[in-house]
């Protein structure tokens, strides 16, 4: 499994400075913390949507960013799949074209994830001809997940993918996420501020607070330590 090493200092738009360092060696790691703690900024820095002031980010053998050596790989060369909270499907393309967008642009030599397998695991077969505007929130999120997978990323970044969904739908999508993790065994960084999601999906948790790592550990250790733990602090 590719290991992610992340060390970064970056001035956050809300004013405080992000100063975070961690390694990801588990299958699913969760970035857990309240809104404005810098979780999404970390994902944007890894995905290449933001250019850090000072950082070193490595994925496996590849250096994505090393500001000391003026290395900053373009977003399209990082092979990192980012699934946004509001899915961001391309509204002018139908589901099949959305799914194939990244597949057609896959890096040479990248591990191939099979289209039909993704369609089967995420149950997208009946949606292929539909336009994104004709899909429900849960269906859109499944398509966004499938689209990211088909670009054959080496790391999957999920930015609160369930935040906009109601409780029963969250449960269904979590089941799909579990299937994806089991099927393709991609290292995954899962951003959430919901303890129940983190507990169900993550092997390891990194708690962020005001741009700093406040705690790390297994979900059971970090989320349920009683008074003063991350969960109680975030009023979950």
């Amino acid at each position: 499994m590719n290991r992610l090493s992340f060390c970064c200092r970056h001035r956050h738009p809300s004013g405080f400075e992000l100063d975070v360092a961690f390694n990801i060696e588990h299958q699913v790691t969760s970035l857990f913390g309240p809104s404005g703690s810098g979780k999404t900024t970390v994902l944007a820095l890894i995905a290449g949507a933001l250019r850090p002031q000072s950082a070193r980010i490595e994925l496996g053998e590849r250096t994505l960013v090393d500001t000391a050596r003026h290395v900053c790989l373009a977003a399209e060369r990082r092979r990192v799949g980012l699934v946004f909270q509001d899915h961001l499907l391309f509204p002018h393309l139908n589901v099949e074209k959305n799914l194939r967008y990244g597949e057609r642009r896959r890096a040479v030599g990248a591990r191939k994830i099979d289209f039909s397998q993704v369609v089967e695991v995420l149950e997208l077969g009946e949606l292929l001809a539909r336009m994104p505007r004709n899909l429900s929130g849960g269906q859109r999120q499944r398509v966004a997940l499938g689209r990211s997978l088909l670009a054959s990323p080496e790391l999957l970044l999920l930015d609160e993918p369930l935040a906009a969904l109601d409780a029963p739908l969250k449960d269904r999508i979590l089941t799909y996420l579990e299937r994806v993790v089991a099927q393709w065994k991609l290292p995954t960084l899962y951003v959430s501020h919901a303890a129940s999601e983190v507990e169900r999906l993550a092997d390891w948790v990194i708690v962020l607070r005001q741009g700093r790592v406040a705690a790390t550990g297994k979900p059971g250790e970090v989320l349920h330590l009683g008074q003063g733990t991350a969960a109680s602090e975030f009023k979950l």
């Binding site: 373009a74 977003a75 399209e76 799949g81 980012l82 961001l88 967008y101 896959r106 990211s148």
Partner: protein, 234 residues
């Protein structure tokens, strides 16, 4: 029915408008995109360059068209900075040809074109480009596969508005084209007719034609923009 000279004015106006817009689009689209996507937190030299580009683009909007035409004439005459190069290298003289009228129309309608296209680009969520980049598309690829298709109706609406502006262009056109028989656009023909005895009555057909063309262009542009808004809200 229209007379021969009225047909000639209509044909010249349409030719000038189509060529002016077609020639402007390849420049207007990248400039509008850069102005739409310019980072608010860019460094001051970048901000200054953006401001200068914006100023240059908007200038013909506030300058009297006759002044724009005068400046073009100074540049395009055989001894002028552009005219001398065209004359010496290519043996081409633009002044008092319909090409000069097309150039004048392009310059005058350019701010309108850029502003409309810029709005169309601003309506495309920039995060869609980030999503495209994350899926392996380079900057040009994401522009052509995501941003441009999503902004296409706005671009078309801008092109129609600019075309309508070209049809109405008078001041700059008369400076670089003159006003001789057979070489008059619709506004020039109306102006010429209205200064002849009985010309006011004879101008009516061209006036109505101008109003009709302008209304059709505005309706088409409005419909396209509405369809784009409906699509976005869906």
């Amino acid at each position: 029915m229209l007379t021969t000279s009225e047909w000639s004015a209509l044909e010249l106006s349409l030719r000038v408008g189509v060529c002016a817009v077609a020639a402007s689009l390849p420049t207007a689209i990248p400039i509008a995109y850069l102005l739409a996507r310019g980072a608010a937190r860019a460094s001051w030299p970048i901000q200054a360059i953006r401001w200068l580009v914006q100023l240059g683009v908007d200038l013909p909007l506030v300058l009297p068209p006759v002044v724009t035409g005068y400046l073009l004439l100074v540049c395009l005459v055989p001894g002028g900075p552009i005219g001398s190069v065209l004359d010496r290298w290519f043996g081409v003289r633009l002044v008092f040809t319909w090409w000069a009228a097309a150039l004048a129309s392009a310059v005058v309608s350019f701010p309108l074109l850029v502003r409309t296209i810029r709005l169309a680009f601003q309506n495309v969520d920039p995060r869609l480009e980030i999503a495209a980049r994350g899926l392996g598309a380079g900057p040009l690829d994401s522009f052509f596969s995501v941003t441009l298709p999503l902004a296409r109706r706005g671009i078309l609406a801008g092109a129609i508005l600019a075309f309508a502006r070209c049809l109405g262009e008078f001041g700059a056109t008369i400076m670089v084209l003159g006003s001789s028989e057979g070489r008059r656009t619709i506004p020039l023909a109306i102006y010429s007719l209205s200064h002849r005895p009985g010309g006011m009555e004879r101008s009516w057909r061209l006036v109505l034609l101008s109003v009709g063309l302008a209304c059709a262009a505005l309706i088409a542009s409005e419909l396209l923009e509405r369809r784009q808004s409906l699509r976005e809200s869906a």
